[in-house]
Symmetry: C2
């Protein structure tokens, strides 16, 4: 996320704004993550400049191209790109991810999103906010089509036998002949089976339809949870749903987001968080809040409380995020100003300010309570906030025996320990006979 997950990160002296445009900045983030033996880096994305172009620093690079560049300069860390099922076609997206797979040697992940915003719809021929149910119906079929395309080459179809002029065994390459409600695709994919078969499937929708999609297909789930009881409820619910879809609980890994403010004393960490809160632009934050609820809240007074708003079932925007925001405002009786401060760091994700030990204790508490399989670390500023985490928190987690010392796999599914991921015996390049 540019120079940090906090929306005002680019205004803080700990960031260098010119790096927003610098591909080497993202290469550096990948290398720092790799130094910390983190599973992956993850790029969010939206398909519109958004309502407040004056302050939107987020979408300069497109994830698949940017992560291809990062792939060339890293060797182990996973590369998770966000891409929309509403505004892509399955063949092209399957191909692009297969390409990232081949470029990275099997380190690709796909964060499946359905693109809720009206501004996005208008860039792709639409006039209205697309209905939530329609987006998810298309997403379900989309995932099935791309998965079939990724499996349209058998793992051993590539022969590369120069003597007999056989590149691939045609009996191992299959049309998919899909004809559904949204798509008609013949196949096969024009790229051989990739090193891990297909990217790791990632999802973050927390609405009922979002959780059902995740339960059926996702292997990694990003989620915003603000307390261990809430996290535990989500975790238990989603694992149970996965089991109902015939999967094992360990086939779907749940990673709440955290925004860590790290310093050598708790006081300094709290002061650091306050510096970022003080940089929030209320009008930008109000527009973000509007997007959660799918309606214009930009005229709210900062000293008022959140007004009466439609129930989650009536919201075509970010359903579950709107509920989280509403709950946060009500439980702590926050003014709009206070609410925006709490949201500024992670757009609803949980912030922690503390020493490296305190951060490590917090993560371990969630893990041991059964509310998380891991975490999506969202540093408020980059690359500094990621370096703080990798250099000071990770060693504590390693000493306590809850995090790896070295990578023990070369593919992203291997790093996540996804034993049910359909990996071929070896990368195509290893199957080559001369």
């Amino acid at each position: 996320m540019g120079v940090g997950h906090h929306e005002a990160a680019w205004r803080h002296p700990r960031t260098d704004q010119s790096r927003l445009f610098d591909v080497d900045h993202f290469v550096e983030l990948g290398r720092i993550a790799e130094r910390g033996r983190l599973n992956s880096i993850f790029l969010a994305d939206t398909l519109a400049v958004g309502p407040n172009v004056a302050r939107n620093t987020q979408s300069i690079f497109e994830p698949l191209t940017l992560l291809s560049a990062v792939a060339a300069a890293t060797s182990h860390v996973g590369l998770i790109a966000t891409a929309s099922t509403s505004y892509n076609n399955p063949y092209s997206l399957a191909r692009a991810f297969a390409s990232l797979e081949h470029i990275s040697g099997g380190r690709a992940g796909w964060n499946i999103v359905t693109s809720a915003q009206l501004d996005e719809s208008r860039n792709f021929g639409g006039s209205d906010t697309p209905a939530h149910a329609d987006r998810y119906a298309r997403a379900e079929e989309f995932v099935d089509v791309v998965t079939a395309l990724w499996h349209s080459w058998d793992a051993d179809a590539v022969k590369v036998d120069a003597e007999s002029a056989i590149f691939a065994d045609p009996t191992g390459v299959h049309t998919i002949d899909h004809e559904g409600k949204f798509f008609k695709v013949r196949g096969p994919l024009n790229s051989p089976r990739s090193p891990q078969g297909r990217p790791v499937l990632v999802q973050a929708g927390s609405s009922d339809a979002g959780k059902e999609l995740a339960a059926r297909v996702a292997e990694v789930v990003f989620t915003a949870q603000r307390s261990i009881p809430d996290g535990l409820e989500f975790y238990t619910d989603l694992k149970a749903r996965a089991v109902r879809h015939g999967r094992r609980p360990e086939d779907i890994q749940i990673l709440p987001g955290i925004v860590p403010y790290i310093a050598d004393t708790e006081e300094k960490a709290i002061a650091l968080e306050q510096e970022f809160t003080d940089l929030i632009s209320p009008d930008y934050a109000l527009r973000q809040l509007s997007a959660f609820f799918g309606q214009d809240l930009s005229d709210l007074s900062l000293d008022d409380r959140l007004p009466e708003l439609p129930p989650e079932s009536a919201i075509e925007g970010q359903k579950s995020r709107s509920t989280l925001v509403r709950k946060l405002a009500e439980e702590s009786d926050l003014t709009i100003r206070e609410l925006l401060g709490r949201l500024g760091g992670g757009r609803g994700h949980r912030s922690i300010a503390g020493t490296p030990e305190q951060i490590a204790d917090d993560l371990i508490a969630w893990f041991e309570a059964g509310a998380a399989d891991g975490f999506n670390i969202m540093p408020p500023y980059l690359p500094g906030g990621l370096e703080e985490f990798v250099d000071h928190v990770v060693p504590i987690l390693q000493r306590r025996g809850v995090f790896r010392e070295e990578y023990e796999a070369t593919t992203l599914s291997g790093i996540y320990g996804l034993t049910s991921h359909d990996a071929p015996a070896g990368a195509p390049v290893e199957a080559i006979s001369r």
Copy 2:
């Protein structure tokens, strides 16, 4: 093109087939091109595995992702990606190219194709070969939409003023509000103006509709021409068409393709070409021939002549390439076997076998006759064939004063000397005020 432009390159001992899957192979090609001060590298693409999967080695990587990886490992050479106007949407493609622009610092080019094959149509919901006229009508509108999106951010719109919390000046970022026959797109693009404003536009269609599109929008044209008179006719025609579209002749640069077989004697070069010809698989080549004419020719006997075939006007496949192939067969009274041999190296492009001096003489003769502004070098095998050209032919061209010794520009449009390319004063990053 994988391990070489000759269709049987992967079967020749001068290639290493494992590199078909190796991103470092393509990085190496970029670096060799850069060592030779070549303008750019260019990746062709089709959106289907093609009729003969057993021998199709071409489409493992997708061009935009692969060239993003190459961008990160090179500094000057241009990066031209093929992408289809028939099976992409304008917003996503404009964004992906803007991203490659930012990743490469302004070295992107877009080879505009309309995707003629039935197999491609079937991967995107179609059942028939799309009509030639419809493809070009959509392409014309597509190019206009993406161009408007690339210009939706003024060159000086990005401010990045942390003090006043202004990332961009909203008055410099514009919706495009396009509503046409094929597309409805609001904009603006979700990526700021790129280093050279937009990619260099490349085109290779040689049908009448293809030439009209090129004359209106292309800055670089790839073409298959087999003799100086033919090349001169094409060159003169296309420049005149460009002038009729209100452009200057130098705004559109014409680059015939050549397939060079290089050795220290002419005899050795001819023997090398013969080695490749001997590796051609007739049934694979017949399927390629079928694609040119848009009909099944796979049952032809290799010792016969080309049968009576429909005129170019009735062909929905590769119109102009079919005419070139027909002319080649008739003028030299070739059997199908001989014709396939001539086509194997460059699918219709001209082969030259000779010493470095002979190759250089040939290129200079075309250039001085006014039949070419430059050439698309299509080495039969890679990387070796490119190294031969860069290390042995380029120095002769430099000594004779017809090719640069050093890069004198950092953007691709600058390298091509396209003074009419709408470049902003500088890359956005240079416009940043702290």
